[in-house]
């Protein structure tokens, strides 16, 4: 299939359709509104469902209701909107309904700004809503990768009966890049008759299904939480995903970076290599489960004297990096969080403070 030039947000909308998801509910918010604009036309063409809800709170429950009756469904939003959806996300995770949420992050806290950011790392990976739950979090670094992750997200959501979040920064949504939609990532409808409230007649059953999150009996609630925990542990075993860059040399420092920020770091690594300074980069493609083992191994290399987490936040992922490195090497943070992406020169300056030049 030939490549087409598309804006990230529009490509994300198209990717969902190509994956086999024809139901979309959303509320406008910069910098992801183009997804809703694109799908308001496109869903009509494919006989799908598009609905602009009255708020992100309502949208998260429209998603819940639709997913709970067994249909494939997704939404997109940006940081303040995801905060509002976080109530619903907690319920949806507790109710084990497969759903896909896309967060095209903007600066915060509060209204913050509308420029790119990675400041929702905690919210996405540690939970923004209440209770013990986890999302499988995918972090694309290009429009093509965003397309592929959106398509894979539906299969993963259904595999785990858990929401999957695509965590992209504003640049992923706003920039245009050539993309293709791999036919191999289209997923067929899965049978959800054993749990979905799709009507007893639909599944030709006399047994009713119930989608709920209330467990008043402490033993039942504990058992429910243990069941959820087992799924997150399975994700940790099966869904770790990362890219290792320039790992072959005797690197002095290991950069950990994801999303758009990792592309800047890649350039910085190349520029430093030209100066004779070897730096490696590990890019988590999935933020939950986090690639702790690979980071620990990479940081443990004899030549590696420090680890630097580079992120467009005031230091969030760095906490997971510290946990992963577990004292094997000093861990540092560099980042900016106003909306302008650090330049390769700024990353190089931060690196040079930590290595022999």
């Amino acid at each position: 299939m030939s490549k087409v030039l598309m804006k990230g947000n529009e490509a994300i909308g198209e990717a969902a359709i190509r994956a086999g998801c024809l139901n979309y509910f959303a509320y406008p918010i910069t910098p992801q509104t183009e997804v809703a604009e694109y799908l308001s036309k496109r869903m009509t063409e494919v006989d799908g469902v598009f609905l602009q809800g009255e708020s992100e709170v309502a949208v998260s429950y429209m998603i819940f209701g639709a997913a709970a009756c067994g249909e494939r469904v997704f939404t997109t939003s940006s940081s303040p909107g995801i905060s509002l959806m976080s109530e619903g996300i907690s319920y949806i995770t507790a109710a084990e309904c497969p759903t896909v949420f896309v967060n095209i992050m903007r600066g915060g806290p509060g209204l913050g700004g509308i420029l790119p950011s990675q400041a929702d790392y905690f919210q996405a990976t540690k939970g923004g809503g209440h209770g013990d739950y986890r999302l499988l979090v995918m972090a694309p670094a290009s429009v093509q990768e965003a397309v592929e992750m959106v398509m894979q997200a539906f299969a993963l959501a259904e595999k785990y009966r858990n929401p999957v979040m695509i965590l992209g920064d504003g640049l992923i949504g706003q920039m245009m890049e050539p993309v293709e939609f791999p036919e191999r990532l289209k997923i067929e409808p899965t049978n959800k008759d054993d749990w979905a409230t799709n009507g007893m007649g639909t599944r030709k059953s006399n047994t009713r299904n119930l989608v709920k999150t209330l467990y008043l009996n402490p033993e039942e609630l504990n058992a429910h939480n243990l069941k959820l925990k087992a799924k997150y542990e399975q994700m940790a075993r099966e869904e770790v995903s990362f890219e290792a860059y320039n790992f072959d040399g005797e690197y002095q420092l290991l950069i950990i970076s994801y999303g758009t920020m990792s592309r800047v770091c890649r350039t910085a690594v190349d520029m430093l290599k030209d100066e004779g300074i070897e730096i490696a980069m590990l890019r988590p493609k999935h933020l939950f489960p986090f690639p702790s083992g690979p980071i620990r191994d990479a940081a443990g290399k004899d030549s590696c004297r420090a680890v630097l987490s580079v992120e467009m936040s005031m230091g969030q992922m760095v906490e997971d990096v510290e946990r992963s490195v577990a004292g094997k090497s000093p861990v540092h943070w560099y980042g900016k969080c106003g909306g302008d992406v650090p330049t390769p020169e700024e990353v190089i300056e931060a690196v040079k403070k930590l290595v022999d030049v």
Partner: protein, 247 residues
């Protein structure tokens, strides 16, 4: 001689957790009878609220989803948009629908979502133990209005049926009462009409039911029924506020 009275198939054969004298049991039965009579049990999905009726799915024999506080109309919207063939109803109390979920119910009604809402108005938060609701009557004492609801600071009770009937989108909006058999028969007719409109894919419908909460009102069941008729009914007048035929 055949059987003249039996438990509806849509109703589970079990004991409920509701207090003695509570009208939830009557409302449940009416919904179950209507679902039986319309023959829609195998394609119905109920949505339980947060409030006393959160466990209502234990008392019915068809698919159920359990909502967060106030969000049932959004869940119902999600279902109806992706599965218009399913019969969907929400069952919500006054704290759930008229306070935290006011936005969801107004916008669902305004979009003309093709589901049915059963709205239990008993002028108080039940499950949390009798706090003031948007529908609490002026000077009515509750655990959070111990000196009575003061309208100067807390406003007048919200008339949900009138509020939703003011929307321009066609709908069926009615207020009925569960306080005596005559009204209960009318309430059942209204519920059946509401589900029928949904089956015909006609409109959104809301049936408000004036109900009692003897426990939190601190009254006997009989006194509670009297109080509802004497204090609530003059302010919350019964009748159809809007039908799709109006437009």
């Amino acid at each position: 001689m055949g059987k003249t009275f039996h438990k509806p198939e849509a109703l589970a054969d079990t004991i409920t957790h509701y207090c003695p004298g509570c009208t939830h049991g009557v409302a449940h039965r009416l919904v179950a009878e209507v679902i039986d009579e319309l023959g829609i049990r195998d394609r119905t999905v109920g949505i339980a609220p947060v409030g006393c009726a959160v466990l209502m799915y234990n008392y019915f024999t068809f698919d159920f989803q359990e909502s967060a506080h106030g969000r049932a109309p959004a869940m119902a919207t999600g279902i109806k948009r992706v599965r218009p063939d399913l019969m969907v109803f929400t069952y919500q109390g006054d704290g759930d629908l008229a306070s935290i979920g006011l936005s969801e119910i107004v916008h669902s009604a305004n979009r003309g979502e093709k589901f049915t809402t059963i709205f239990i108005n008993n002028a108080v938060y039940g499950m949390t133990g009798g706090q003031m609701a948007p529908t609490t009557m002026p000077d009515q004492r509750t655990t959070t209005s111990p000196f009575g609801r003061k309208t100067v600071s807390m406003g007048m009770p919200i008339r949900v049926a009138e509020l939703l009937a003011s929307l321009q989108t066609p709908s069926y909006i009615t207020r009925q009462s569960l306080t005596r058999p005559k009204y209960i028969n009318k309430a059942k007719k209204a519920i059946k009409k509401a589900f029928t409109y949904q089956m015909e894919n006609r409109c959104f419908s809301l049936v408000e039911l004036l109900s009692t909460c003897p426990t939190n009102w601190g009254m006997t069941p009989i006194d509670a029924l009297k109080w509802a008729e004497e204090k609530m009914m003059p302010y919350y007048e019964l009748g159809d506020y809007k039908t799709p035929e109006d437009d």
